[in-house]
């Protein structure tokens, strides 16, 4: 799942699609934490809570990312990645 997400991040042209691929990456690592906690250290809860907080933070980050994308859409009228690659000069 993670490498599918990485592949998607590299190849998609729509910024929203890039964010979707990013969600795949995040979910993959969340699963990783939960599994390590459950099978290697069942008495402790670090992994569980890490995953919990990671979900919360991912939600916040998605919200802000989409806000930015909507702002870009207002200025450039499109959200293709190639429209926003010109740097300040």
């Amino acid at each position: 799942m993670m490498f599918a997400g990485i592949f998607g991040f590299f190849t998609r042209k729509n910024t929203l699609a890039m964010l979707i691929s990013l969600e795949l990456i995040l979910n993959a690592s969340d699963i990783n934490f939960a599994v390590f906690n459950r099978y290697l250290f069942p008495a402790q809860l670090e992994g569980h809570f890490f995953t919990l907080f990671a979900i919360a933070i991912a939600a916040a980050e998605t919200a802000v990312g989409i806000a930015i994308i909507i702002n870009i859409y207002r200025n450039v009228r499109g959200i293709q990645v190639k429209d926003i690659e010109e740097m300040k000069h």
């Binding site: 990485i6 991040f9 590299f10 190849t11 890039m18 990645v81 190639k82 926003i84 690659e85 010109e86 740097m87």
Partner: protein, 637 residues
């Protein structure tokens, strides 16, 4: 004697004041400030001289005093450069000479430079020059003398190039500075050689015998045929030769006449050009004891220079150039006088006393001649002899004072020049008859060309002038009269009481034979000049000029020495040495720097692509980098 510090302080403070704030003052006020400060300096010099020479003698000699000595640079345990004031008979005499002539020039310039642009700057530079020259003569050690030597060169450059909008003046000032600077290279090397072996710069230590074993060992080591000490002293003389315009470094002095005439009077007649003579006189005990052959060489150089420049002076038409060559010739006399000394005794060291005496009297009457020339130039607005003639009717004071100076320089008694020149001739005859007769012949030439100058200016055919020439104002004639008065009486000063080679009293006595011979030669020359030049028509000189045309042309082109120097510098030094070095500097050194910059730029171009603004590319680079690191860790751990 602590008040002597003011002799140095006042001029330099006046230089700073006039240099920085002078343009805010009215020109006359600036001039008055400068003159008054120099007046005080002159009075202090006279007081110093009086106090010094009335102190009781110790062991028959005047004690050398050091009222002020401050250590300035500490180089090693033994070697340190001090700054201070050293009073001994010749330095006190020079103080009197310099301050008197400088004061006269200051007063004279109030009238001569009236209305010129840059009047305040002129007075500032005059004060700077006076300060430098005074510092040079009271130097306690060689290095202080060198420092002030260079300062004198700078002041001379500033003053010669005073009319900085004239290209000839600029060229002349550069030439003066560069030629003297080149000579100073020899001076510096000589100083370094001397101090390396004797481990001291100080005059008192060098002369009073503490350095004697070191000096003797230095004299023992030989290098390329001469002792090391002789080389050092010879190189030091090279510096003196540059400053005193000895052949072949005399080329700057005639061109230096581009500066204002009072400057020529001060610098190029009375004070700066005698710095070389003063140097040899100061180092005289060392020359006599350890390098007598160098002294003999100095005598020959001086004699040749004197002869050379006297012949050129006979055909020059610009009055200032005649006086310039005359100065070179007279300095040749002073150098010869020093060179013909055979020892430090009464009789052998006669040349030393004669040289200093002639320095004193020459300063006075040469300054008088230049100032008189200035007053003439002021009246007819031209330097050329063709534009003058018959001026004796219009300018009586200038005429009389100029005549007095001409008689003095020709060596007619009872004017001062006779006494000093006579002593030189006696000393020269003691050394070798050849030198003696050469110097007598040159004395005759001197009388001849000086009276040629005199007659062409004041007698002969009158030139058409725009407005009738008038006598100079009092500010200009007062110095003339003052200096003329000194010229009349200076001959009777018992100079040997004050200055002599071993410090003891020397009673000047006239050698009747030498005196009669020299007076006869002088009178004959004057008669010849009168026959040639007194009337308006000058048939004999014209005929002689036609018969010896080549010689005449060569002499009026100063025997082409300038062209020789130009050839040496342009063809040899510039083409063969400077151009390759310049090429190397421009292409190899700069090229290397350019190459470094170019390679940095190329490198930056090539990695610029990494920052493209494409986020996906950034992420790709992250991933690949992370994978590489992980694989690296896997493989190597």
């Amino acid at each position: 004697m602590e008040y002597t510090i003011f002799i140095l302080l006042l001029p330099v403070l006046m230089f700073l004041f006039l240099g920085l704030a002078g343009h805010k003052l009215k020109p006359n006020v600036a001039g008055i400030f400068g003159t008054i400060s120099l007046g005080i300096v002159a009075v202090l010099s006279y007081v110093t001289a009086w106090n010094y020479f009335t102190l009781p003698r110790v062991n028959g000699v005047f004690q050398a005093l050091t009222p002020l000595k401050v250590e300035w640079l500490h180089l090693t345990d033994h070697l340190h450069i001090d700054l201070g004031i050293f009073l001994d008979p010749i330095s006190v005499m020079m103080l009197v000479v310099i301050s008197t002539v400088s004061l006269m020039v200051h007063i004279y310039s109030m009238g001569y430079m009236h209305g010129e642009k840059g009047f305040q700057r002129y007075y500032a530079f005059l004060s700077l020059f006076t300060f430098s020259m005074l510092g040079l003569v009271v130097a306690t050690n060689i290095f202080q003398m060198y420092i002030f030597w260079e300062l004198v060169g700078v002041s001379s450059y500033l003053l010669i190039g005073f009319y900085y909008t004239k290209p000839t003046a600029i060229a002349a000032s550069k030439k003066a500075f560069i030629v003297t600077r080149f000579a100073d290279l020899g001076f510096l090397i000589g100083i370094l050689i001397l101090s390396f072996f004797t481990k001291t710069f100080d005059f008192t230590e060098l002369m009073n015998g503490t350095a004697e074993p070191l000096l003797r060992s230095a004299a023992g080591q030989s290098f390329l045929g001469g002792s090391v000490l002789a080389w050092g002293l010879g190189l030091m003389f090279m510096g003196g030769a540059g400053k005193s315009a000895m052949f072949p470094l005399h080329i700057w002095l005639p061109d230096a006449m581009e500066g204002p005439t009072p400057v020529s009077a001060l610098i190029h007649a009375a004070t700066m050009v005698v710095a070389g003579v003063y140097l040899v006189a100061r180092m005289f005990p060392l020359y006599i004891d350890y390098a007598p052959q160098v002294l003999a060489g100095i005598a020959y150089i001086g004699a040749f220079t004197a002869l050379f420049s006297a012949t050129i002076a006979c055909v020059q038409t610009d009055i200032k150039r005649v006086l310039a060559f005359s100065t070179i010739s007279q300095i040749g006399f002073m150098i010869v006088a020093l060179g013909v000394c055979l020892g430090k005794g009464e009789h052998e060291g006669l040349g030393y006393m004669a040289s200093m005496f002639h320095l004193f009297t020459h300063a006075m009457f040469k300054a008088l001649l230049f100032l008189g020339a200035g007053s003439i130039i002021h009246a007819v607005h031209s330097n050329e002899m063709d534009h003058m003639g018959g001026l004796r009717k219009y300018m009586p004071i200038t005429h009389i004072t100029f005549l007095i100076a001409c008689l003095a320089i020709s060596g007619i008694p009872p004017f001062s020049g006779f006494f000093s020149k006579d002593e030189i001739l006696s000393a020269a005859f003691e050394f070798s008859p050849v030198i003696g007769w050469t110097m007598s012949f040159i004395a005759g030439l001197t009388a001849f060309y000086m009276f040629r100058l005199y007659y062409n200016i004041f007698w002969g055919k009158e030139h058409e002038h725009e407005h009738t020439p008038h006598e100079a104002p009092l500010t200009m004639t007062f110095p003339l009269m003052f200096l003329a008065a000194i010229t009349l009486v200076a001959g009777f000063i018992p100079f040997g009481h004050f200055v002599s080679s071993n410090g003891e009293v020397y009673n000047i006595h006239l050698d009747k034979v030498v005196a009669t011979v020299s007076v006869c030669i002088a009178v004959c020359s004057i008669a010849l000049a009168t026959i040639f030049y007194r009337k308006a028509e000058q048939p004999i000189p014209d005929m002689l000029g036609k018969k010896f045309r080549k010689l005449h042309t060569a002499a009026s082109h100063r025997f082409y020495i300038d062209e020789v120097w130009m050839f040496v510098t342009h063809k040899i030094i510039f083409r063969c040495i400077s151009t390759p070095i310049a090429w190397f500097d421009r292409h190899v050194v700069d090229g290397f720097m350019n190459f470094l910059a170019w390679s940095a730029q190329e490198a930056s171009f090539s990695i610029r692509g990494f920052q493209s603004g494409r986020v996906q590319q950034y992420a790709y680079v992250f991933l690949v980098g992370a994978l590489v690191i992980i694989v690296g860790l896997l493989l190597f751990i």
